[in-house]
Amino acid sequence: MIPSKDSEQTAGDQPAVSVYELVRHFGRFAALRGITSDFAAGKLYVVLGDNGAGKSTLLRIIAGLLPATGGEVRVLGAKDLRSAATRVGYMGHAPLVYDELDAMENLRYFAGLYGIHDDALCATAIARVGLDPMLKRRVGQYSQGMRQRISLARAVIHDPELLMLDEPFSNVDVGSAREMAKLLGHMRDEGKTVFVVTHQASILAPVADEAVLLADGLMVARERGMPEWMTQPHPAEALVARAHQEARR
């Protein structure tokens, strides 16, 4: 287990997410090899690691999209992840919206899945991510960046307590990515717990509470704030280099 350096969590606080000895195999490949950790509520976690480190697998298990091969997950206190579904938002690597529908039609449908029937709310969610709710263009004709934004609007339409985002900034221009990061920071300030899997950690540096580093299916580091390894092209290597430096001292 990698102990959190966060000591603010009191005994009465319930972690937003708890994972214990979490294991996931795909055939003979072990994507996760026993991760144990508690993640306090109301924080923004940046999950880093090279390709194949297990970041997306971890997120999909927490979101209830993928069953764990072994171990235990608790999300917002619930062991049965379905029972927490109304309080969880997930944005996948793909946009998770219909190309043939416009933004408003997409949000109307997905809001309905959460029992929400409020066009004004859908319009606000679209405007909040910097898109025009009145735009009648189908999502299939959007740029990649616009698709990512509508995907974010879909993920937050039901005002989830826990939000998980897998590569939200891929194909998004730097300015728009910073705007999205600012929005995620606001959500954290409102008390939401946010997990962001990304390779562009520097965009999140101003708002990140903790950086979590995965390598080969293991959680190899977890630190508060924005450690210097977080923004390196290969965080795991940067962390090893830092460990060597500390050992030499």
């Binding site: 209830g64 969880v88 219909y98 959460y114 709310l121």
Partner: protein, 233 residues
């Protein structure tokens, strides 16, 4: 944190209707299923009409088999499209993380497919009447009952097995491989019931009962197993 939760678990009927409307809108805009299904069915009818040159009496004997085999092949096109549009952009994941009941998705897809295949059967039946000079000796309302039960038998299994095969690599090949063998009892009943009504030789009630029983059994099994199939990873 939110003081009052905005989201709630939606009702079965509410999500079924919303998904059905959404699927019709997607189909209206893309016309992926209907165009290919109609074109395929038209081809089948034309090819059969060239291959056979039956008399009116022979037509009544073979039309049941030709119509239902044509419908079965054409329906596979629509059934594959059902889930293909949910896999594009991994939209199915958005449904799976939501509190919406899995059963709603299945019912909406099955009902949607039922309507699409029925829309295919109407022009197909009319073309058969024209190309094969087909006149039914038995009552037409019995043909309608057989058509409803037979179409449901095809789409309920087709929708389920299409969902089962979405995570396989060769899913378009996989669906007929699974669906056709399991549809043999229903296919036998629908063909014989149709032939019996067209020729007016005997009562089709035995075949109709078999079709109804098949529908009840497979609808129940599909509804019970769908959530497992949807979440299988």
């Amino acid at each position: 944190m939110s003081t009052a939760p905005l989201a709630k678990t939606p009702g079965l009927l509410e999500i079924t209707l919303a998904t059905l409307v959404k699927d019709f809108r997607l189909e209206w805009r893309s016309k992926d299923a209907l165009n290919s299904m109609l074109f395929f069915a038209l081809l089948v009818i034309v090819i059969f009409s060239f291959a056979f040159d039956p008399t009116a009496e022979e037509s009544r004997r073979i039309a049941g088999g030709l119509i239902w085999v044509g419908v079965l092949f054409a329906a596979v096109v629509a059934l594959n499209q059902t889930w293909a549009r949910e896999l594009r952009n991994q939209v199915l994941d958005a449904y799976r993380v939501s509190p919406a009941p899995a059963m709603s998705l299945f019912i909406a897809k099955a009902v949607g497919n039922f309507i699409f295949v029925t829309l295919l059967e109407i022009p197909m039946a009319l073309l058969f009447v024209v190309f094969y000079n087909l006149r039914s000796i038995g009552p037409v309302y019995e043909l309608v009952i057989v058509a409803v039960l037979a179409t449901w038998a095809l789409v309920v299994n087709g929708t389920f097995f299409a969902a089962l095969s979405i995570r396989t690599r060769a899913r378009e090949i996989m669906l007929p491989l699974i669906l056709f063998p399991i549809s043999i009892p229903a296919l036998l009943a629908m063909v014989d019931a149709t032939t019996t009504i067209l020729t007016g030789e005997s009562s089709p009630m035995g075949w109709i009962r078999l079709l109804a029983g098949y529908d009840i059994v497979f609808t129940t099994v599909c509804l019970m197993l769908f959530e497992t199939v949807l979440n299988a990873e």
